[in-house]
Symmetry: C2
Subunit: 352 residues, 2 copies
C-alpha cells in the first residue's frame, strides 16, 4: 500500500529524489564508487556543492552580496551562531516569540548581547502570530521563526519595519518567494522542506560580518565557511547531495512560485475540511494558519487513537500532533502530492 | 573495472554496507518509507541510535561511566568543544603537535584556557612521533591525534603518563583495541573508518563534565546531548545509520582485534614493497608509520604523474599525496581488502 507521509521532519521527499539518491549510493556519476566514499574535494562533489549554492541563489533570487552556506548542527546551532557572529555585547536583538523554536532561539542568543522579546503569543499557547506591537528602530536585527512547525502558525507577511530580519525558515524554506533584501540572515535545517537530516542552509549578507570584535572558534565563524565555500572541514556530502536533487526537483516543477501556488491549494483542501467537518476544529487563528503544518483537533478527544488508526489504515502516517498541542498535525511540505492530502481528507470525511 | 579506493576520507566502505544503505533509502525496514524521510523519534530510528551506541561500547569495551554521542561538526568542532567543556580558564591542557590536525586543535583550544604544547615533530615536517619529552603532572589533560592522516604517522603506544588523555581518533577509530580507562574524551569524524561524512563520534567520561562554571550554548554542551541520547535536536539520521551498518560489519568480522591483525598484514604488504623497491621510499620514521595512511614518494619525483596514471589504469584511485607531503598516500582503512593493497603493490612492482 502506498504510504502518505505527513511527518513533520525528517519529512517526505519526492520519490524521484529518493530513487536518484539510492542510485548515487551504489554508483556516483558512473565512476564505480559510492557517493558515500568519494572525497569532498573530488571534482564530482565540488560540482555538487557549486550547483547546490547556485540553485539556492536562483530559486530565492539572491545576489552576490549574500553567501550561501551548507553547514551542520541544525537550526539549534544557528540559534546562538547568529547572535555570536553579528550581535555586539552592547547591541540589541529583537525577537518575536511564536513557540518552541523561537523560545529556544531567544534562550541561546541571550549569551551574546541584549535580547528584547517585543511580542509573544504564549498567552494563547502560540495559536496566532502577534500583531500590534511596536518595533524599536535602533536594533541590530529582528528575529522571527517564519513557520512554526509545532503549533502550525506562519508569518504570511513580514513585520512592518526597517530593522533587518533574521529568520529561521527551517520548515518553510523554498515554499514561497521571499524578498531577500529584507534579510541579514536566513537559516534552515534541511530535513523539512529541503532534504534529509544532516545539513543546515545558512544565507548571510556578507557585509554584516566581522564587526563584533569577538573571538569566535573557526567552525562557528561564518567568515571561515564563506572563505572555503562550505568546505573548511569535511561537509556532510550525502545530505548536501540529496538537497541538491530536491532543489533540482523544485526548479523542474516551476520554482518557488509554483510551489507556493500548489501549497495554497493543498492547504485549502484540508483547512476547508477541518472548518466544514463537525467533528474537527483548528486551534489556530485563521489568518495565521500555516501552509506547511496543519494542526487540528477532534471535539471529542477520546476518539484520537481511533482516528490515527483509521488514517493508518488508509496509509496516512505521521499525523499525531506534537504533545504541546495534542490532536493531529498534517505536514504538507512541497513534496507532498495533492492526492495524499485528499487521501487524508477522505479519512476525515469517513470518520464517525 | 573494479575500483580500489585509497581515498583519505570520505573513504572506502564495505560493499555490503553500501548495498544495505541503498536498500534503506528505497525502503527502510520494509515500512514503505525511505530512511531519509522517517522521524528521528520514530521507533525505527530510535532503535538505530540505541544499537549504534551499544556497538561503540561493545567494540571498544566501554563501560557506563562513559557517554557515547553522535554529533555533527566533525573533529574540527571538537577541537574547541573539548576545551570549552572541560578546561577551566586557569587550567592547562597539554598538546603534542604531530601535524595539521593537532595544530588546528591547539589553535582552537587556546580560546579556553592555558595550552602547553609539550612536544612537536614540526622540525622534520611531522615525519615522526615525538619522544623523550616530559609531561607536567598537574595538567587537566593531554591531547593527542592518534593517527595523522596527512603525514602518515601514528601513536603505536600512548604517552607514559597518568595525565588523562583526550584523543582525536578520526582516522584510526575501530582499527585496534584501546584501553578506555586512559581517556577522558575520544572523538572521531565518521568519514574515515566509521561511516560517511556527516556525523562525529564523541566518547566522554561523564564525571568530568559540568565543572568549568562556563556558560555554554546548549548545542555545544556535551551534557545536553547526554541527557537526550544525541537527539536534543534532529541528529544526522542517515550518516548514523550507515555508521551502525559499518560497526555491525566490524563486529561480524571479528571486532577491533581482528581489524588490527588484518590492518597490520595489509600495512606490512605495502611498507615491505616501499622498503624493497628501489624506486620508492617512505619519509616516515619506521617505528611511527601509520597502519591507516601509508605515505611514500618516488626518488625521481618527475615520474609522479606517470605513477598515478599507472595506478589509475589498474583501478587504484585516491593515491595522490596531500600537498604538505607530496608523493603518494594509500589510505588502507578497515574496509580496504588485502587484494586492493596487493593491486597497488603490483603497480609499484611493474612501474619502471
Amino acid at each position: 500500500m502506498k504510504k502518505h507521509n505527513f511527518s513533520a521532519g525528517p519529512a517526505i521527499l519526492p520519490r524521484t529524489v529518493i530513487e536518484k539518491s539510492a542510485e548515487a549510493i551504489l554508483d556516483f556519476n558512473g565512476n564505480g564508487l559510492s557517493i558515500l566514499e568519494v572525497s569532498h574535494r573530488s571534482p564530482g562533489f565540488t560540482k555538487v556543492m557549486k550547483e547546490s549554492i547556485a540553485l539556492v541563489k536562483e530559486l530565492l533570487n539572491i545576489g552576490d552580496d549574500y553567501a550561501v552556506l551548507f553547514l551542520t548542527g541544525g537550526a539549534s546551532t544557528q540559534f546562538f551562531m547568529t547572535a555570536l557572529n553579528i550581535l555586539g555585547d552592547d547591541e540589541t536583538g529583537l525577537y518575536i516569540d511564536t513557540g518552541t523554536w523561537s523560545t529556544k532561539a531567544i534562550k541561546e542568543a541571550k549569551l551574546y548581547g541584549n535580547i528584547d522579546v517585543i511580542a509573544s503569543s504564549k498567552d494563547k499557547n502560540f495559536s496566532y502570530i502577534p500583531k500590534g506591537y511596536s518595533i524599536p528602530k535602533d536594533a541590530k536585527y529582528l528575529h522571527i521563526t517564519s513557520n512554526n512547525t509545532i503549533f502550525g502558525t506562519q508569518f504570511h507577511n513580514l513585520p512592518d519595519t526597517d530593522v533587518r530580519i533574521v529568520s529561521d525558515m527551517s520548515s518553510d524554506i523554498f515554499s514561497r518567494p521571499i524578498d531577500i533584501n529584507r534579510y541579514d540572515i536566513i537559516y534552515a535545517g534541511a530535513q523539512k522542506n529541503m532534504g534529509p537530516a544532516g545539513t543546515t542552509l545558512v544565507i548571510v549578507k556578507k557585509d554584516i560580518l566581522g564587526k563584533t570584535n569577538r573571538k569566535i572558534p573557526s567552525m562557528l565563524n561564518y567568515e571561515t565557511h564563506i572563505a572555503k565555500d562550505s568546505s573548511f572541514n569535511t561537509p556532510p556530502v550525502f545530505p548536501i547531495y540529496v538537497s541538491m536533487l530536491t532543489m533540482q526537483w523544485i526548479k523542474e516543477n516551476g520554482g518557488v512560485e509554483a510551489m507556493n501556488k500548489r501549497n495554497i491549494e493543498k492547504a485549502d483542501i484540508i483547512y476547508n475540511e477541518i472548518d466544514s467537518n463537525p467533528m474537527f476544529f483548528s486551534p489556530i487563528a485563521k489568518e495565521d494558519r500555516s501552509l506547511m503544518n496543519v494542526t487540528f483537533l477532534l471535539h471529542d478527544s477520546s476518539k484520537e487513537d481511533a482516528f490515527i488508526a483509521a488514517a493508518a489504515a488508509a496509509g496516512c502516517v505521521g499525523i499525531k500532533g506534537h504533545r504541546s498541542v495534542g490532536g493531529f498535525r498534517a505536514s504538507i511540505y512541497n513534496s507532498m502530492p495533492k492526492e495524499s492530502v485528499q487521501a487524508l481528507v477522505n479519512v476525515m470525511r469517513n470518520f464517525k
